[in-house]
Amino acid sequence: MRTFIGIDLGSTTTKSVLIDENLEVLGRGITNSRSNYDVAARVSKQEAKIAARFTLFRNALGKDAEHLLADLERNFRLEQFLSALRQLEETCIGYLDHPRFQGTKAALRGSLDAVFRKIEVEAQAIYAPGAARKSDFFRDIAGSRFMNLAQAASREAAIPFETMLNIYDKSIIDVESRVDPDETVASQMRNGLTRSLSSAEGVGVDRGEALSALGKVLAIELEETYVVGTGYGRVRLPFPKEQIRSEILCHGLGAHMMFPGTRTVLDIGGQDTKGIQIDGNGIVTSFQMNDRCAAGCGRYLGYIADEMQIGLHELGPIAMKATRVPRINSTCTVFAGAELRDRLALGEKREDILAGLHRAIMLRAISIISRSGGVTNEFTFTGGVAKNEAAVRELHKLLKENYGDMTVNISPDSIYTGALGGANFALRAVVH
């Protein structure tokens, strides 16, 4: 079948959206951008294709199979994780032949074996039904487990922890750069389905019917009829110029597709903030971006999280507990870090300071929006920061203060807005 793909290469994550000829989203894929946009694009595209096969499988089985599908997805991710883990182990072992590890090779091999066997066992729990994962990226899950287990293993074997880390660091880059071929993915899906059908989740679904339906879905060729790249890394894509679109246009169109009533779009990504005005057809009429300085972008929050030694995803929930929102004057990321330490030293509560910082970035965003032409109902907030509840709360307050009541749209898939617009441009390039 003909498919149309938009790839949004952001500074933090790379997103792909795959649609069919009827503008139906079949699959979404996301990966960390690493420092290699080519790989990130290939991985996210493969992920979108995997998601598309899940969608097609869901369509084939009907609504009654939702439980089975959820379980299949979980089992597939487990299969995928174990496969990547095997690759990681093989790569680590491959590095042991380096002359540098000559003296400790046997000890290292033993330690690596111990670590990987433990992660293999833990994987079942990591992907158990209902288990929460802070990240779905292999690097994050495998990395955090490896760090934990390698410390003990290296101590036991009396080898430096840094050596284990060094081998891991080298190997993870290689493994991350591999994209599983379609055949491997198909086999992972088949294995996943077999696991699911053997478990309680498979009850009520005809085994033969399910396996046959999956076979048919896997046999469908997902033809990449046209691919459009957008985002900061777009120039790095191996695409001709015509297949590259500005992320401003892609975000405008993507927001329109998600919420057709949208007239103003705010996108806060890793390194830029965009205020975009669009017309009733998703066409950009005006835009503004942050200039020269990335204060108030996603990276600002990342920096603050690092300063506080907490996870990025914890910022919002902590800030939501604030009882007052202090005025943070600096929108400069580095100065905000200084202000943060200063206020902590003065005894201010962490949640209050964080709430103030969230307000500071939204103030800057509002300034960019106002320069792009103000806010017109409906308003759509996109980008990774739209997932942060404290940022959203401050945005609501500021919009109300400055522009009155209005509809504020935030899609759970907001991070894919640019890629969605890109996919639509891909379709238009062929169909129109």
């Binding site: 992320e247 057809n281 066409i283 009429t285 005006s286 032409g373």
Partner: protein, 430 residues
């Protein structure tokens, strides 16, 4: 990476010679030297006293294009000038601190007179205060009233003429030892008007499709002689005659405007631009346009040294002092916001442009103010989309290539999208 060698045209060769000769005159030690600014510069008057014309902004630009302004700005900041000060000023101050070497490699002499023609930029006044402190030479200020109501009045003109008679000319006579001869001024002004006619022809040649010239990146070169030390000279007449002939040939051949890499193969976008170019990354900046097939058909920056195409001004030898007053009153920097809006909106219509691009200058407080409002107004008047980018004049730290390119590409694609949609209806639901 080596860049392809672009063959220089006769007019380019001539201009290079003219500029080189002027620097030799300034640094030669024989002529008296005045420092003065481009907007409202009184070149014809200075020539009446055999005074050479040295323009600090032009020196800053020359240094920026030779990648020297960064270290000069750093030098000025070391001596206490804030990061937010106009970078033309800091490049000039830094150049002085670093030996005051002219582009021809010889040291600039201390000026014999500072002639400040104040035409709307308040920084000029502060700049000249610094220069006066440095050189302690005679300083004369011609106060040109701001055309706040759009139209200069007779009182304003009389006020300037009075200053010319009572302040400027007597100081120049004293400094030079040359008696003012109004007929000599008339003769220079007559020559100015001839060159100005060809200049306006050049500016309007971009109404052709494709435009044979780029009136921003190319335009800053074409404006050189008329805005600097050559207005009123035979050389300027000759330069614009040569330029006109070259453009006529380009029109006959149907050539697109030139780019840093030769003739543009195609013209995809026609823009009107407000604000100066970035000088430290001038060619890279230009390529962001030319590689997309974007040509600038009109720009306000090519009017800062004199507006000739908007209300038909030409220097008038029959009213020599009055015409100098009119010239100063009419330069772009002395125009109010509604007039700037009207000029740019008219340009968009008259030159059949796709829209307005504003390059707002980080360190220019005088002219960056109000630009967003101008853009919105012009969008409303013309129905054409505007876009806003931000760079700086000669401070290399404030040119973020990826950011500027991103915005420009978005703008070009926005124009495409609007064209395809034909008012956007056709794209509905697609």
């Amino acid at each position: 990476m080596s860049q392809p060698e672009v063959v220089k045209s006769l007019s380019q060769v001539k201009q290079k010679e003219m500029i080189g000769r002027n620097y030799d005159l300034i640094t030669g030690g024989t002529a008296k030297v005045s420092s003065t600014f481009v907007p409202g510069n009184l070149n014809e008057l200075l020539m009446c006293f055999d005074i050479a014309n040295n323009l600090p902004e032009i020196n800053a630009i020359q240094n920026a294009m030779r990648k020297k302004s960064g270290e000069m700005i750093a030098e000025a900041e070391r001596s206490g000038h804030s990061e937010d000060v106009c970078t033309y000023v800091k490049a000039d101050i830094g150049m002085m601190a670093k030996g005051n070497i002219a582009p021809n490699g010889k040291p600039f002499p201390d000026p014999d007179v500072l002639l400040l023609s104040y035409t709307g930029c308040f920084t000029f006044m502060k700049w000249f205060e610094l220069l006066r402190e440095q050189y302690r030479c005679p300083t004369v200020m011609l106060h040109v009233p701001y055309a706040a109501d759009g139209q200069p009045t007779k009182n304003m003109r009389d006020y300037i003429v009075k200053q010319l008679k009572e302040d400027v000319i007597p100081v120049l006579e004293t400094v030079s030892g040359v008696k003012f001869d109004i007929d000599r001024l008339r003769e220079y002004l007559r020559k100015s008007a001839i060159a100005e006619n060809d200049l306006v022809w050049m500016l309007e040649s971009s109404k052709h499709r494709p435009s044979p010239v780029d009136c921003y990146f190319g335009g800053v070169y074409y404006m050189g002689p008329i805005f600097t030390a050559f207005r009123g000279t035979d050389e300027a007449i000759e330069y614009y005659r040569l330029l006109r002939a070259e453009i006529e040939e380009r029109i006959a051949l149907g050539l697109c405007a030139q780019s840093p890499d030769g003739d543009m193969p195609e013209e995809n976008y026609r823009l009107v631009v407000e604000g100066p170019p970035n000088w430290t990354s001038f060619r890279d900046f230009w390529r962001m346009f030319s590689e997309a097939g974007a040509v600038v058909v009109a720009s306000s920056y090519t009017k800062v040294g004199g507006v000739y195409d908007y209300d038909g001004f030409r220097h008038d030898p029959d009213h020599p002092l009055e015409t100098l007053a009119d010239y100063c009153l009419g330069v772009y920097t002395n125009r109010n916001l509604p007039t700037r809006v009207d000029m740019l909106a008219r340009n968009i219509v008259d030159y059949d442009a796709d829209g307005l691009l504003i390059n707002s200058i980080k360190s220019c407080n005088s002219f960056s103010a109000g630009q967003l409002v101008m853009m919105r107004e012009i969008e409303k008047i013309t129905g054409k989309p505007g876009a806003f980018i931000e760079t700086d004049l000669v401070d290399p730290r404030y040119f973020s290539a990826a950011n500027v390119k991103n915005r420009l590409e978005s703008y070009f694609q926005m124009i495409d999208q609007k064209r395809r949609a034909g008012g956007s209806a056709a794209a509905a639901g697609a």
